[in-house]
Symmetry: D2
Subunit: 348 residues, 4 copies
C-alpha cells in the first residue's frame, strides 16, 4: 500500500526492456546516437511541432532549471505559483542555474490566474533599473496540489504572459496525467496556447529517470546544449536515456501509464469519498489527492503499513480530528491495494 | 571495431540485470532506499574508510563539479593539469558549480609534478586579496593521456598540496583502470596518501551511468547533499543508480571489468608496436593509447569501418606521414576486433 | 523644493572638506591607509564593540549584498520584509552576490513581526534537502515606508531569528535617522539586541558615497574582504572613502545630520497635518512621509516646481481625489522650502 | 619618494574642485543628472563616436568585470595575457561577474601577439559542446609591465579576434598614458582598429575614483545598466562620479596628467639608465618601470624612505646582486623626488 509518491514505484517493464534492448554494440556518446533521432522525431510528431528542439535529461529539476535558465536573464524574475516545484522543491536550483534570477510567487495557492498574474507582472514593471526585470511565466501542469488547469485557464495565463512580452514555460512533470484528464492533444495543451518551452516528464510516468525538454521555437537550442553540458547533465551513455523515452512513446505507453495512474486515483477517491470525516482539499483530477482523514483512520492505515504523507499532526490524540495527508497513485498500484486502503479508511 | 571511447560500449550484463532486479515494488525516493545503504557499506569496506561519506550521481562531470564546489571557495583557484577533464571537457562546469573559482593549469602535459605544483602554488601565494586564493589540487588518475600516476608520484602531489594547506581531489573516472595497473588497494591509492575526496567512476567501467563521490572526511557531507540537490543531480528513483553501483561492486565486477579493458589495450598496444611508423606518444598503461600511425594505415582502418579519434590531419596525402590518434578499449571489445584492427594497421 | 530623495541633496561641507584635507601626499592603496585605522577605531568606540570588523564601500546595495553574501549560503533563503530594499531595489543583487540564495518575503508591509517571522521560518524548516534552507534575517531600520522599529520590536525579531539559529543583518541605510528617533545608543540598537552585521549608511546622511559594513563578530572578516575585492568594491584610493566616513563620525556630524533630516520631516509633517484631505499612510517617524494629498494640492506644488514622488495617478482629474506620494527630507532642506511646500499644499 | 603605485598619490586639485563645485543644490540620483549628459557628450566627442554608450563606475575592476560580463557568456573563455589585471589582480571578479566564464592565458608575458592569440583561439575551437566556447579578447593598454602596444600590434590583435568572430575589450586603466605615448587619437587606438568596448581609466590618472565604460556599439547598453545595478555599482549620488570624469575631460586635463606621469617616468628612467647594475626588464614606455637594481642601491633607497615594490629578495645579502623592482610614477611626483631617487640609486 504505497501512496507516498509516483517516484517510489517500479518502472514499466517495457521501459526496462528497452534499456536491455539498447545494451548491445557501440553507439556514439553524448546524445548523437541514432536512437535519439528517433526520440526527437516521435516527440515532434506527437506535438505536431516539426521544428521543435528536443533534449533529454535525467531529473525533473534539471529539466526545469535548464529550461528556465535558457529563458530567463539573471536580473529577471520568474512568475510562478507559490506551491510550484521550482520554488518549493528544488533547493534554489532555478536561482543557481539562472545565475541569480528571482521567483515572484503569484496568488495564494497552486494555481495562478490571469488576474493574479497580471497584477504580479504589473507590479514589477514600475521600478526601472532598480527592481527585478520581468521574465518568464512558469505554469505547473498538473499542479503540486493535484489539480489540472483546463485549456481556458492555460490560454488565459499564456495570453497574459505574452501581453507583457514574457515567454511561458510549462513544468510538465505530470504532463501525461493532465493530458489524459483533459482529453486534448499535446499541441492543444502547449504551443497552440502559447507555451514556449516544456519540461515533459517521464520519471513519474514509468521510467527510471528521463525527462525531455522541448523548445517549440528552436532558436535557443545551442544555448541549451551548452547549459546542459555545463550543468553536468549531458549523459555520455545517452542511449539509456533515449531508450527510456522511446519506450514511453512507443505504442502510447506514456498515455496508458498516465491513464492507469489517474484511474487508480479515481478509484481511491471514489472509495474514500464516503468515509466519515473525509475531506478533499482539492478536487482529485489527476493522480494526487490532498485531503484529510480522521486520526482514527490514519491509525488503522499506518498500523497496517500503508505508506503516504501525513502532512501535519501526530497519531496520538482525538480520534475524530482530521489530519491532512497527501496520497499519490502511480501506474503500478494494484486495485487490491487501493481497495484495502479504502477498507482500512472505512474501518472495515 | 570501436575504439573511440569507453563511453560507447554496452553496459555489463550484470549491471543491467541488477537494474531489472531492483525494478519491483516500492522504495523511498531520493537516495534513502535500503540499497543505497548497501552501496555505502561496500564502498566504505573497499576503501577501508568506515566514516566516509558516499554519494551517487549519474555523470562524471557532476561528480567532479560537485566535489570541487564543496572543496573550493569561489575566490580560489583549483590546481590541475592542463589536460585535465575538468579544464578541457566540462564546458566551464567547475567554474559554474564553484560560483566562479579559477583553474590554474600546472605543468605542460597530463601530469602535474610536485615541482610544477609547488611553483604554481607558490606563485599564487603572493598577491594578498588581489589574486585568486589557493584552493584544492585535482589529480586525474588515469590521466587524460592514458598514463597512471604511481604511488610515489601521487604521494608527492598530495604532500605538496597539504604542505600548502590545500586539500586533494582525485578525478577517478578511470579509477579502477589505474588501480589494477598499480595493483594496490583503493585505500593505498587515495586517503592513505592524502586524497580527501574522490570521483569514483562507474560509467566508463561498465555501467549505463553512475559515479560515486567519496569524501574520506564526512564533515562536508550535508553541504554536498544540498549542492547535489540544487544542481539537479539528486535522482528521485535513486535505486537505479544504487543498483548499478552495487552490481559493479559485487564479486569484484568493477575490477574484472577494468582488468578486461586494460588487457584489451595491452593486446592492442602489443600488436601495434611493430607496425612500421607506429609511435606511442605516451606509454600505454591503462586502457588508452595516444600515438600515431602512418596515413596509409589510417586509410585501411577507416575503410574497414574502424571507429576511433583521428586527432589531426586528413586521409588524403602522403601515405607515410604519421597522423595522431586516440584509441580506447573498454571491457567489451572482443579479441577478434582487436586482432583485426592490428592486422589492418599492419596492412595484412 | 526637493523632497524626492535623500540621495538628491548636497553632501555636507565638512565631508567635502575632509576629502580635500586628505588629498595631499601619498597613502598606501586598498584600504590600509592610516585614516582607515582611525575610522575603524571610531566605529568600534561608537558601537562599544572593540572587536568589530569594519569595512567601507561606496553604495548601500554593495553593503547589503556583500554582508548578506558573507552570512548566507547559496542554498538558503533570507527572510525580509516584502518592501525591503534588498528585495525591491537591488535588481537581484543579493541573489547575485549570494550565488543564488532566495528571499522569503515576510508579512504584508514594511515590517516583519516576531509572529510573521516565526511562521516564515517554520514553514521553511520542513522540506529536508528539497526546499531552500533557512538563512539570515534582514531587518530594515528605518523601514522603506519611513517607520522606525522600536527596541522591543527589534529585540523580538532578533530573538526569533536566533531561536531558529539564524543570524541577523540590519540594513541601516538610514541607521542614524532611526537612532535619533529612538534616542538610544548604537550598541543598544544593534549587537545588544542580537544584530550580527550592519550596513551602516553614510550616503543618505550627508556623504557623497560611503557606507560601512560592521560585523560585530569578526570571524568572517577575511571572507568579507575577499568578497569585496571580487565584487570590485575595494577602492584603490580608499582614503577618499575613509575621509567621508571619518568626517561623519567627527564631532557627531552623523547625528547632527540625521537630526536635521528628521526635524525637517517633522516640520513638514506638522505643517501638512491640517491640509484638508491630507492622509498619512504610515506615521512619520524619521525623514520620510508616505501619504496622500488631494490632486489640487499636487497641481499647485508641481506647478511651483516642487520635486517629489507622485506614486500613482495623474494631475488631470477630480481635484479632491487624494493621490499618494512619498516625501523625503535630507539634512539640507531649508525651512523656507519646507514652509513654502506647506503653504502650497494649503493653497496659500 | 613614492613610486609604489599610481593609486597612492593625491587627486588632481581641479578634480577635487569639480567635486566641490557640484556639491550644491539637488540633482536626480542614479546617473540621470544633467552633468552625466555632459560627460557622455564629451566622451563621444573625444572618441568621435556619437552613438557610444558611456557609463561610470568607481573602480577599474568594476569597469573590466562589468564590460566583460556584458560581452561574454558563462560558457565562454576570455582571451588575455597571463599578466593581465583581470587574471592576476581581480580575485576572480571576471569569473564572478560572467557567471563562471574561463580565462585563457595567451602567450608568456604581458603581451599577446596575433600568433599566440590565433593559436589559443584555434585550440579552443575543436571541442564542440565539451570545451569552453570562445569569447572576447581583452587587451591591456598600457600592459601590466609598462609596455604600450603600438597601433600595428593592436590592429593585428583586433583583426585576429574578429577573424574568429570574437569581440575586443580594452582594459585601459592607463589608457591616457598609452595614448600620449603613441600620439594618436582615442578613436585611432580603439574603434577604428576594432575595439568594441573600453575600460577608460580615470583613477590612476588623477581622480579619487572614477572609470568610464564605453561601448562603441550601444546595442548592449541596457544589459550593462542592469548588470551595473545588480553588481551594486550604480551610485545614487552619481554626480560626484560625473564631476570627477568631467574635470578630467575639461581642458585636456586627462592628457596633461598622463603626460606628466609619463614624463616623470622618462626622467626617472633616464637617470637610472647608467646606474651600475641597473637592468630594465621591459622598455619604459609609459609610467611604469620593471627592472632591477643592485641590492646596495635598494638598501640606500629604502633607508632613505623611498617607497616602491621590491618584487623579490631581501635587503640582506650580496650588495651587487640585482633585485627586481617595480617603479611607478603618477602625475604628481616632483622632479626633486625623482632626482633624489636617482641620486640614491647612484650612491650619491
Amino acid at each position: 500500500m504505497y501512496f507516498a509518491s509516483d517516484n517510489a514505484g517500479p518502472a514499466h517493464p517495457q521501459v526496462m526492456q528497452a534499456m536491455l534492448d539498447v545494451n548491445a554494440g557501440y553507439a556514439p556518446a553524448y546524445g548523437v546516437e541514432p536512437l535519439m533521432d528517433e526520440v526527437r522525431t516521435r516527440i515532434r510528431e506527437i506535438f505536431e511541432a516539426p521544428e521543435a528542439a528536443v533534449y533529454l535529461v535525467a531529473t525533473g529539476t534539471a529539466a526545469n532549471c535548464l529550461a528556465l535558465a535558457t529563458m530567463a536573464q539573471p536580473w529577471q524574475t520568474i512568475f510562478a505559483s507559490r506551491f510550484s516545484h521550482i520554488h518549493e522543491d528544488e533547493c534554489n536550483g532555478p536561482e543557481f542555474y539562472t545565475g541569480g534570477a528571482k521567483l515572484t510567487l503569484v496568488g495564494t495557492d497552486d494555481k495562478m490566474t490571469a488576474e493574479t498574474l497580471d497584477a504580479a507582472l504589473r507590479y514589477e514593471e514600475t521600478r526601472g533599473v532598480h527592481g527585478p526585470q520581468r521574465g518568464p511565466v512558469s505554469i505547473t501542469q498538473v499542479t503540486e496540489r493535484g489539480r489540472v488547469h483546463d485549456l481556458k485557464e492555460l490560454s488565459a495565463l499564456c495570453d497574459m504572459a505574452h501581453s507583457h512580452a514574457q515567454p511561458v514555460h510549462m513544468d510538465g512533470a505530470r504532463f501525461a496525467n493532465a493530458l489524459v484528464t483533459l482529453g486534448c492533444t499535446p499541441a492543444e495543451m502547449t504551443w497552440k496556447l502559447g507555451v514556449n518551452a516544456l519540461s515533459f516528464g517521464g520519471t513519474k510516468n514509468g521510467a527510471p529517470g528521463v525527462e525531455a525538454v522541448v523548445f517549440f521555437d528552436p532558436e535557443q537550442a545551442w544555448e541549451f546544449e551548452l547549459r546542459r553540458k555545463r550543468g553536468a547533465h549531458l549523459f555520455s551513455k545517452h542511449r539509456y536515456l533515449a531508450a527510456q523515452m522511446n519506450a514511453l512513446l512507443t505504442d502510447d505507453l506514456w498515455l496508458h501509464s498516465a491513464r492507469s495512474a489517474n484511474a487508480n486515483l479515481a478509484r481511491l477517491a471514489a472509495g474514500l469519498r464516503d468515509v466519515p470525516g473525509m475531506e478533499f482539499h482539492y478536487p482529485p483530477q489527476a493522480n494526487i489527492i490532498f485531503g484529510a482523514l480522521p486520526r482514527a483512520a490514519h491509525r488503522r492505515l499506518q498500523k497496517a503499513g500503508a505508506m503516504y504523507h501525513l502532512l501535519e499532526g501526530e497519531l496520538e490524540g482525538d480520534p475524530d480530528e482530521p489530519l491532512p495527508m497527501r496520497l499519490v497513485c502511480d501506474w503500478s498500484i494494484s486495485e487490491d491495494n487501493i481497495d484495502r486502503f479504502i477498507a482500512l479508511a472505512h474501518g472495515q
